[in-house]
Amino acid sequence: MNRFSYVRAAGVPEAVHEGSAKHVRFLAGGTNLIDLMKENVERPERLVDINRLPLNKIEDLEGGGLRLGALVTNADTAYDPRVDRRYPLLASAILAGASPQLRNAATNGGNLNQRTRCYYFYDPATACNKRDPGSGCGAIGGVNRIHAILGASDQCIATHPSDMCVALAALDAEVRVTGPDGDRVIPLTEYHRLPGDEPWRDNYLRPGELVTAIDLPAEDFTSHYTYLKLRDRLSYAFALVSVAVVMRLDGDLIREARIALGGVAHKPWRSPVAESGLAGERASRANFIAAAHALTEGAVGQGDNDFKIELARRAIVRALEQAAAGTPQSQTDKRVL
């Protein structure tokens, strides 16, 4: 871990001011940042501790939505009665991730900004364009079981590791940020980037910008939803593939379905084509299979992770079945419904 100076921000304006300098990182829960600093992957000159900022509330929005403060912990979010009742998909996805200890420390803002779990990114002895621009991508042609099948580039095949963000993507959440140039709102689905030729940039935040809240729109997805996570052990492991589904049904007719994939790309993956293809169709396995193919259109394996293409398709079909049946996946009973 490198040397750095530390300041505790007393208010949001001070935090933004401090955060606008170069080589500064905001410190919230720290569960990913401290981890990466110990590996010398993150080497900030200054940490701005934002934990005492007044961003730690969950508030009702006019019109029925919910605002999740950036500093509310993942655990407090998942177990909040309003989240649990109105956005059970989000609660489920959060509880599928990490461990209780990590969820008690990790914040909502930090969850958005967590970095990839790529082995090469974490190992400064190896090549990684995300960590060390221009050094190459060790994962291409290397050990890439956990890597991306969608939206990757020849520079980077890392995935975004979050479970929470996959649910937020399906829920059409919005990210509220504030920065030197004022406040703005970024749709969650447009918050994270694909690696392209700038893989070191994970998202579209501008220098100094601070996530203040995540807004959940007022929509009722309490009956037909699921978060299905597949991984290498039954808990405390990152997703190989995860699927968040919300659905509105009229009998067995799908009025609307949203599907977000996790563990397969540099961002939660949605496909307007796949979703519009389901709208107005029957909730049938055949239609689900078609949607799965549409959503994974263009998927490319890297060798070790070739299986993820088929696994993702099957997981999508199963998740759609679970959502349509109103039988969401339990995160404690490990039987896949």
Partner: protein, 179 residues
């Protein structure tokens, strides 16, 4: 720690600007009920503070990256991985470690249950398991075996005492009345 330090231009020269500086920041923590004052550098984790400065070595270092749970302590009654917490960021916090659970010579019910169920072998993950179990009880979200297993999954045990650990926790939960 690997040796090839990359020439990342964005970091050039930054090491020297702070090298040699050992900026100590005053903080206080209430550790197992006792107020303690420290002047520490910002890069000291709560885990290392407890182990190396307070000599409270009951809190264990198993991975130093939040991947094993051996360093679990309670902050304001909530379980966290102390290896991923910079101590400066928790100024004023109440910290409970394994050393603070027993009431004098009387073991905490979880400690007693762990001994009786032989929920330990080498003992290295044990303090973290017990602090985590106390956090689980405080949270009140577990009553079934499946829930205990899932919500204890942040604590790895290489000796494989899992079934006995779950049984010990279930016994304490049942005695306390399932939340």
């Amino acid at each position: 720690m690997d040796t090839r330090v990359h020439d990342d231009p964005s970091h050039a020269g930054t090491a020297s600007s702070v090298a040699g500086a050992r900026e100590a920041i005053p903080i206080s923590l209430i550790i197992n009920g006792r107020q303690r004052h420290f002047a520490i550098e910002p890069w000291v984790t709560l885990l290392d503070l407890l182990r190396e400065q307070e000599h409270l070595t009951g809190t264990k270092k198993g991975c130093d990256h939040g991947q094993c749970g051996a360093c679990t302590v309670l902050i304001e009654g909530k379980r966290i991985n102390s290896c991923l917490v910079l101590a400066v960021s928790r100024d004023g916090a109440q910290v409970t470690t394994i050393e603070g659970l027993a009431d004098g010579d009387r073991l905490h019910p979880l400690q007693q249950a762990f001994v009786e169920h032989d929920a330990l072998q080498c003992g290295y993950c044990t303090p973290g398991q017990i602090c985590s179990a106390q956090g689980l009880i405080n949270e009140g979200h577990a009553s079934s075996g499946n829930e205990v297993r899932e919500l204890m999954s942040g604590n790895l045990c290489r000796c494989g005492a899992y079934t006995n650990i779950a049984a010990a926790i279930m016994e304490v939960l049942d005695k306390d009345g399932a939340p």
